[in-house]
């Protein structure tokens, strides 16, 4: 079927380096010596561990329970013994630790009882719940819990379901191989998504440098009797970015501030559809994924790898050359060097590249920006990276927001083309994390302020109530007295009425005054508190303060996107490219 394709602006064409790893079929990686399964593997809440040290677990057994709606369960990747539950190093540029379940495999790789899911009789909610329980998350790299994306917007009809098989990053071929070899399961999985979202059409986008994958998918679509359209899109990085692929296939542009469903379109990665179907048809939760091993290795290829496998052990399968000096997780455009080689494979791990200076020569020193505009021409979101850079460098974060820093998807196109070799994306990550940090600070201050004010308010109210009660009691007393007096005087003098009124007046007045004074005092205090809680003024710094700030910044820069995953929950569409 001929389709009208749209273009996105910008983009770059780095050498694809894909053929190295497509020569051999997907192989199963052998059982590793030990596993460290991080609990927090998807955007959203961190699953709670439901196993303890010493527990025997079976493959596929639940070890971490989803915490809240945006969270997905975590399962034991193989059978064995839980040897520890606690912090472990993460494959994250920050190098920070996070809780893991450490499992010693027993070598039997014994499954739990696997029950296919009864799709026919299940309500949509039950399907979503089941996918959550099966740990199905976006495998394109963003690891957003899939069930959370399977509810159509209430007001906008779903028009297109976009399936992302573009795989635009150089070196990575795991989706390519998956489509070549397991297209039927992918198509079935897409069918499940289609049933839940009820789109008018389903479009599967594959970059035109993967003809085998496209052919396999077409054949599978036909074999399944579906009407999905497989579209070969021009090879242009980052065509596999969800927003770019949506643009190319539908012409729609999803702004940073909106969900794609608000525009009647939703996007999933092919591998996500595959795991969803494995869970439904075979009762297998997500305990493994396909990982490309490539780069400075003698035997590049794709492997089906258990989640939690130590990366260095895994990489041995591809026989890294002796000058390998690090492991890049992800592709060369958006990936990062893992803080240490033994960190575990997680659901977001699509590719490991053995790093060497031969493969990725060190960058030339950074020069000043010459405003050549190459970065702006390359930016797929049509930003002005050099302006962002300028303001990020000057720490004028308000300006960076004015120049739409949060629309930056960190694709790296700008850094790729910059003749001055400015690590632009680094600056943008830094600016984003700074803004997040300040927002957090401000929020904390605001919260403190609200709490304080509420406490004040409550205390004042209690005081006022007490005073009122006293006043009422006094008034009642007085009224009683007055009544008595009135009764006594009923036959005699009239002025008793005046006596009855007076005490009431007297008792109310002091209470009112006290209340007013207390409120005024509370307001003054609140004001003082508010002023103290204002975000720090960063304009007039003492040298000491400046140095402190510089240190904080150095740490932030070191940490790279340290804040990203936690925050990404708030802005799920802002960070990763694929899906």
């Amino acid at each position: 079927m001929l389709m009208n394709l749209f273009k996105f602006k910008g983009g770059v064409k780095p050498p694809t380096n894909k053929t190295q790893s497509t020569g051999r079929p997907i192989a199963a990686a052998p059982l590793p010596s030990h596993l460290a399964v991080p609990l927090h593997q998807s955007i959203g809440g961190t699953p709670r561990p439901v196993v303890a040290v010493g527990d025997k677990v079976l493959k596929g057994q639940l070890i971490g329970e989803a915490d809240g709606w945006i969270s997905a369960a975590v399962h034991a990747p193989t059978s064995g013994t839980v040897v520890a539950v606690g912090p472990g190093k993460q494959p994250h540029p920050s190098g920070l630790d996070a809780d893991c379940v450490f499992i010693e495999p027993d070598g039997r790789d014994e499954w739990i009882a696997r029950q296919p899911f009864d799709l026919v009789n299940a309500t949509p909610d039950a399907v979503r719940h089941y996918l959550q329980q099966s740990g199905v998350v976006g495998l394109g790299g963003a690891v957003f819990p899939t069930h959370g994306k399977l509810t159509p917007a209430k007001t906008v009809p779903m028009q297109e379901l976009v399936i992302n098989g573009a795989e635009c990053e150089p070196f990575i071929t795991c989706d390519d191989l998956l489509m070549r070899e397991r297209a039927i399961d992918i198509v079935r999985g897409i069918g499940v998504f289609r049933d839940l979202l009820q789109p008018q059409k389903v479009l599967i986008g594959i970059e035109d440098n993967k003809p085998e994958a496209a052919a396999a998918m077409r054949a599978a679509v036909e074999a399944c009797g579906e009407d999905f359209v497989v579209v070969q899109v021009p090879t242009l990085y980052p065509a596999g970015g969800a927003k770019q692929l949506i643009r190319v296939l539908t012409g729609k542009e999803v702004p940073a501030a909106k969900r794609s469903t608000d525009l009647g379109v939703q996007c999933f990665n092919v591998a996500t559809a595959y795991t969803a179907w494995r869970a439904i048809a075979h009762g297998e939760p997500v305990v493994s994924r396909i990982v490309t091993l490539t780069g400075n290795v003698r035997q590049p290829g794709n492997y089906e790898v258990l989640i939690g496998t130590p990366m260095d052990e895994l990489l041995q399968l591809a026989q890294p050359n002796p000058d390998t000096d690090g492991i890049v997780m992800g592709g060369p455009m958006m990936g990062f060097l893992v803080p240490e080689p033994a960190v575990p494979v997680i659901k977001a791990t699509n590719c490991l590249i053995a790093h060497s200076e031969r493969l990725f020569p060190p960058k030339a020193p950074e020069m000043p920006c010459i405003r050549c505009g190459a970065c702006a021409q390359a930016c797929p979101h049509e930003l002005q990276p050099f302006e962002l850079y300028w303001h990020a460098r000057a720490k004028d974060f308000g300006k960076t927001q004015q120049y739409h820093i949060f629309d930056c998807i960190e694709c790296g196109c700008c850094s790729f083309v910059c003749p001055s070799r400015i690590p632009l994306v680094q600056y943008f990550r830094f600016a984003k994390s700074e803004i997040w940090a300040r927002e957090k600070e401000k929020k904390a201050a605001d919260e403190a302020k609200t709490r304080f004010e509420f406490k004040q308010f409550r205390e004042e109210r209690e005081k006022a109530e007490k005073a009122e009660k006293l006043a009422k009691a006094a008034a009642a007393q007085a009224a009683k007295k007055a009544a008595e007096a009135a009764a006594a005087a009923a036959a005699g003098d009239a002025p008793a009425v005046a006596v009855a009124e007076k005490p009431a007046d007297l008792t109310v007045d002091p209470a009112e005054a006290a209340k007013k004074a207390a409120i005024a005092a509370a307001m003054a205090r609140a004001k003082a508190q508010r002023e103290a809680a204002q975000p720090k003024n960063t304009d007039a710094l003492t040298p000491e303060q400046a140095r402190d700030m510089a240190e904080i910044e150095a740490r932030r820069v070191q940490a790279g996107i340290a804040d990203a995953p936690a925050e990404a929950a708030a802005a799920p569409t802002a960070t990763k490219t694929e899906e």
């Binding site: 990725f360 060190p362 010459i370 702006a376 002005q384 680094q426 790279g560």
Partner: protein, 340 residues
């Protein structure tokens, strides 16, 4: 392990590559120039380059910047070449050196060096020199005058008296002066009939130099080092205003073709208004910048007191570039069709 951020793959690009390509793009124009006036221009290019590199090195040293890295970026050479090409080819050596040193020291480094200069350094040099040494800056070799290299060298080095016969004015200047002196008695057609000065269109031989710049500019555009916006708008402005006035009074105003091919029009269009550091960077900004610079250049060149107006026009627009950029921010992905 060292912290090395993504992307790990980088395009093969560097500032020196960019600058080298700009220099390459100037070569056709230079070739035509040398053919027209003799090797003097090459001598001037060498003098300007040496002065630029020396000034750059001194300033880098003073500012404590890495010498090798910044000298290799080639930006000083581009400035030097533009100065050499805009100054009279037989100007005394010290004039070129003064202009170049001023450009590098004041217009570039005192404003923060590479990428920071708000004004185009070459245009600053031109403006400063034409204000300070108006006579020398207006002496162009008489047309058809071919001198051997040594003689030209002697003039440039001041070893030979600057005989008035050797130097004349540019066609632009000549026409302006003639029209002024003629005071309505002489018209443009008559003047242009004088093939010796005005050549086929705009000055004997100068149209070939202009063609050389055009060629180089198109190449830069094809290499995506410049976009079409600023040159197009600049040329469009000059064609529009000169065309309008020419149609209105063909006897008093030269044709658009004359204006296009004479003076610094095409050099300015492709190599000056496209300077990203001192110019605009947004597409609409480039259009506004180019168009306004074109209008100003024409007005100054035709009605003002200087032989050409490109330099002053560009400097004036350099002043407004940041504001124009700010006001012409493009809509970004996903925000089109909406008010900013």
């Amino acid at each position: 392990m060292m912290f090395a951020p993504a992307p790990f793959l980088l395009k093969d690009a560097s500032v020196s590559q960019v600058m080298t390509q700009v220099c390459l793009a100037l070569v056709p124009g230079i070739a035509a120039y040398a053919w027209l006036v003799g090797p003097a221009i090459l001598v001037q290019l060498v003098i300007a380059s040496l002065a630029a590199v020396a000034a750059e090195a001194a300033m880098l040293k003073l500012r404590g910047k890495p010498l090798a890295m910044f000298l290799a970026d080639g930006s000083a050479i581009v400035t030097a070449w533009l100065i050499a090409l805009t100054f009279p080819p037989l100007a005394p050596w010290w004039l070129v050196v003064t202009g170049t040193v001023f450009a590098i020291v004041v217009a570039k480094h005192l404003y923060g060096g590479l990428g920071q200069n708000p004004f185009n350094p070459a245009m600053v040099a031109f403006a400063v020199c034409i204000v300070s040494f108006p006579a020398l800056m207006s002496q162009w070799p008489s047309v058809g005058l071919k001198m051997p290299l040594l003689e030209q060298l002697d003039i440039i080095l001041g070893l030979m008296p600057r005989a008035d016969a050797l130097t004349g004015a540019t066609p632009l200047d000549a026409m302006k002066t003639a029209l002024k002196l003629g005071d309505g008695q002489i018209d443009v057609a008559q003047l242009l009939a004088n093939q010796d000065i005005y050549g086929n269109f705009a000055g004997r031989g100068w149209e070939w130099v202009a063609a050389g710049y055009l060629l180089g500019g198109l190449w830069l555009w094809q290499r995506k080092l410049i976009t079409w916006h600023a040159p197009f708008a600049f040329i469009a402005a000059i064609v529009a205003i000169s065309g309008g006035l020419w149609l209105y009074r063909p006897d008093a105003f030269a044709s658009p073709l004359f204006h296009l091919l004479s003076g610094g029009t095409l050099l300015g269009a492709f190599f000056i208004v496209t300077d990203p550091v001192s110019g605009c960077t947004t597409p609409r900004g480039k259009l506004i910048f180019g168009f306004s610079a074109g209008l100003l250049a024409y007005i100054i060149r035709v009605f003002g007191g200087y032989p050409d107006g490109v330099a002053f026009a560009v400097l004036l627009m350099n002043l407004s570039a940041p504001l124009i950029d700010q006001l012409t921010q493009p809509r970004i992905f996903g925000m089109k069709g909406k008010q900013p």
